[in-house]
């Protein structure tokens, strides 16, 4: 990242695009806390989060998905989503060990909440299947459901459309709109231009760790710097 100064607006879909190596996934990792910023500050809802470790940022409301889904292969579809509810439940190892009633009550609540997200992404029929037995497109939906189960305020989607068929991409678009309707801000990294232009209300363009343009989809498509950067990439290929 090189003197990057950007603000993500709440409640809308923002897309981050740019040629390969522009730093898009690095940006995600910085926001999520996987990488530590060596310089500069990160604020979330007015609070400085630089020193907050990755796993704690999730309780603050920052959730993310990975390019390669990274599902829990040793669990079923529903169990993956239930795992996402981990930080929204309380009962600990002692209550679990002794099988106390409040543990059972919370388990039931987790099950019901997870089922909601399961149905939201349309995986209701596959709930007991092994997570990795799903085709790629549906695996990515599962990854999104799992991230949603953490009840985030902002959802970072890392190339959610990669490897998807046209039909699956349409389902993904619909899902993202439903997520916005739930009041969750969406930030996505994508290479698929039609998908981005159709979805995003705001687009940020990165190149070599710097922000070179910012605006609506229409503005970005006309921006000379952006065109140059992408034409340059095509010329290289």
């Amino acid at each position: 990242m090189d003197k990057l100064d950007l603000t993500i607006e709440e409640g809308i879909i923002t897309a981050v695009i740019g040629p390969n190596g522009a730093g898009k996934t690095t940006l995600f990792n910085l926001i999520a806390g996987v990488y530590s910023a060596t310089d500069g500050e990160i604020f979330f809802q007015g609070k400085r989060i630089n020193s907050i470790p990755a796993h704690k940022r999730v309780s603050l409301g920052i959730a993310r998905t990975f390019q390669h889904a990274l599902l829990f292969g040793n669990m079923t579809v529903l169990e993956n989503i239930m795992a996402g509810q981990h930080i929204r439940s309380r009962y600990g190892i002692l209550e679990a060990a002794l099988s106390l009633p409040n543990a059972h009550r919370e388990e039931k609540a987790i099950f019901l909440e997870a089922t909601k997200y399961l149905n939201l992404v349309g995986l209701g029929m596959e709930k007991d299947r092994e997570a990795l037995s799903l085709p790629l497109g549906r695996q990515k939906l599962l990854a999104i459901a799992r991230a949603l189960a953490t009840e985030p305020k902002i959802l970072l989607l890392d190339e959610p459309g990669a490897g998807l068929t046209t039909i699956e991409k349409r389902a993904l678009s619909d899902l993202i709109h439903r997520i916005i309707d739930m009041g969750i801000t969406v930030l996505l990294v994508e290479h698929d231009m039609p998908l981005v232009m159709g979805l995003a209300e705001k687009v940020i363009v990165l190149d070599r760790g710097q922000k070179i343009a910012e605006g609506s989809a229409a503005q970005i498509q006309r921006d000379k710097k952006v065109i140059a950067v992408y034409l340059g990439e095509e010329a290289e290929e």
Binding site: A32, V34, A54, H55, K56, V58, S59, A63, R64, T65, F66, L70, L71, F72, G73, N74, M75, E79, M82, A83, G84, H86, I87, S89, Y91, G92, I93, E95, A96, A97, L98, S99, A103, E106, E107, I110, R146, A147, A149, T150
Partner: protein, 323 residues
């Protein structure tokens, strides 16, 4: 629902078997063997949780067995502390020790972690030998009192069998409850993908330490029961070979299998007596071979593999009947 009913029947059968075993007209002559299987199961199930779920290897687990054993022995014999209180203190000491080194060693990965656990095990074994004013040195300590409740003393193998297996089953059920809970899901998540687990808010490092502490406490409880059975404790009971045997038990039983721990402990215990007879000090070579073979050909463990084979047989038998 069906799984629940079938499960309850299986538990009932196992319970009846376990209750009847120590009687002379049944399998009473194996009482002592069964006590050791029970004790080893207690340590193994903790090791299975640690190795199978958080993927952390421990080549020094016998050390925690030993800390439990020595603290119980020293407190109850030398200082006349009530054996039950001594057992509790031992468990707290072992757990605290595991907690303090846990955060340090779990920063290490792979081979380095394995070496760290190995190193700690050896250091503790050396301490058992060297702190002779407390531990009796290489010759060990004897004359450790029995456990008792009120006037009822656990002075025969028959009585101690029930005591040990009460604890063994308690720990097995506790482990099963944990696995089926939110904590168990977090552990399985860590096993599935540490990065993804962090991304849903799971504090991976903290969980690894928690399970490590749990496994150390399990081992400590077993160690305490061990000394009140044998009434003798010495450093060589907790050396590297002892730790290797524990890993073999865990691996044979299946690292992610709770009840497999009984199977792993049983087969290894029975095997170890035979091996000692035929190979003497070369038995460690055989253990190494077994570890390699199991990891290569059936990494889920012998127990899980056998379950798979039974399921396959049934499926084939059902097909034949259709024809």
């Amino acid at each position: 629902m069906l799984k629940s009913i079938k499960e309850k029947w299986i538990y009932l059968v196992i319970a009846i078997l376990l209750i009847l075993i120590p009687f002379d007209w049944f399998l009473g002559k194996y009482n002592t063997l069964m006590i050791f299987i029970g004790l080893n199961t207690m340590v193994t199930v903790g090791l299975c949780l640690l190795m199978g779920y958080t993927g952390q290897v421990s080549l020094g687990q016998a050390a925690y067995y030993g800390i439990g054993a020595y603290f119980s022995a020293i407190l109850s014999k030398t200082y006349n502390v009530d054996p039950w209180l001594a057992m509790l203190i031992a468990a707290v000491v072992t757990g605290t020790f595991a907690y303090s080194i846990g955060y340090l060693i779990f920063r290490l990965k792979g081979n380095y972690l394995a070496m760290a656990t190995l190193g700690i095990g050896i250091i503790i074994w050396i301490l058992f030998r060297q702190l002779s004013q407390f531990t009796g040195g290489p010759d060990g300590m004897s004359g450790i009192p029995y456990l008792s409740i009120g006037g009822f003393v656990f002075d025969t193998p028959f009585k101690r069998y029930y005591l040990v297996w009460f604890f063994t089953l308690a720990l097995l059920f506790i482990s099963q409850n944990i696995i089926r809970s939110r904590t168990g899901r977090a552990l399985r998540a860590i096993h599935g993908s540490e990065d993804a687990a962090e991304s849903i808010g799971i504090n991976v490092a903290q969980f690894k330490v928690k399970i490590f502490v749990l496994s150390a406490v399990f081992a400590s409880l077993a160690g305490s029961l061990f000394v009140h059975h044998l009434r003798f404790v010495s450093p060589q009971q907790f050396d590297f070979l002892a730790s290797v045997k524990l890993v073999v038990m865990a691996v044979i039983g299946g690292l992610a299998s709770i009840w497999g721990a009984i199977f792993g402990a049983a087969t290894t215990n029975i095997l170890s007596d035979e091996l000692l007879l035929n190979f003497g000090e070369l038995d460690i070579v055989v253990y190494g071979l077994i570890l390699m073979l199991v990891m290569i050909f059936m990494p889920q463990g012998l127990f899980v593999k056998l379950k798979e084979i039974i399921v396959l047989w049934r499926a084939r038998a059902a097909e034949k009947e259709k024809i």
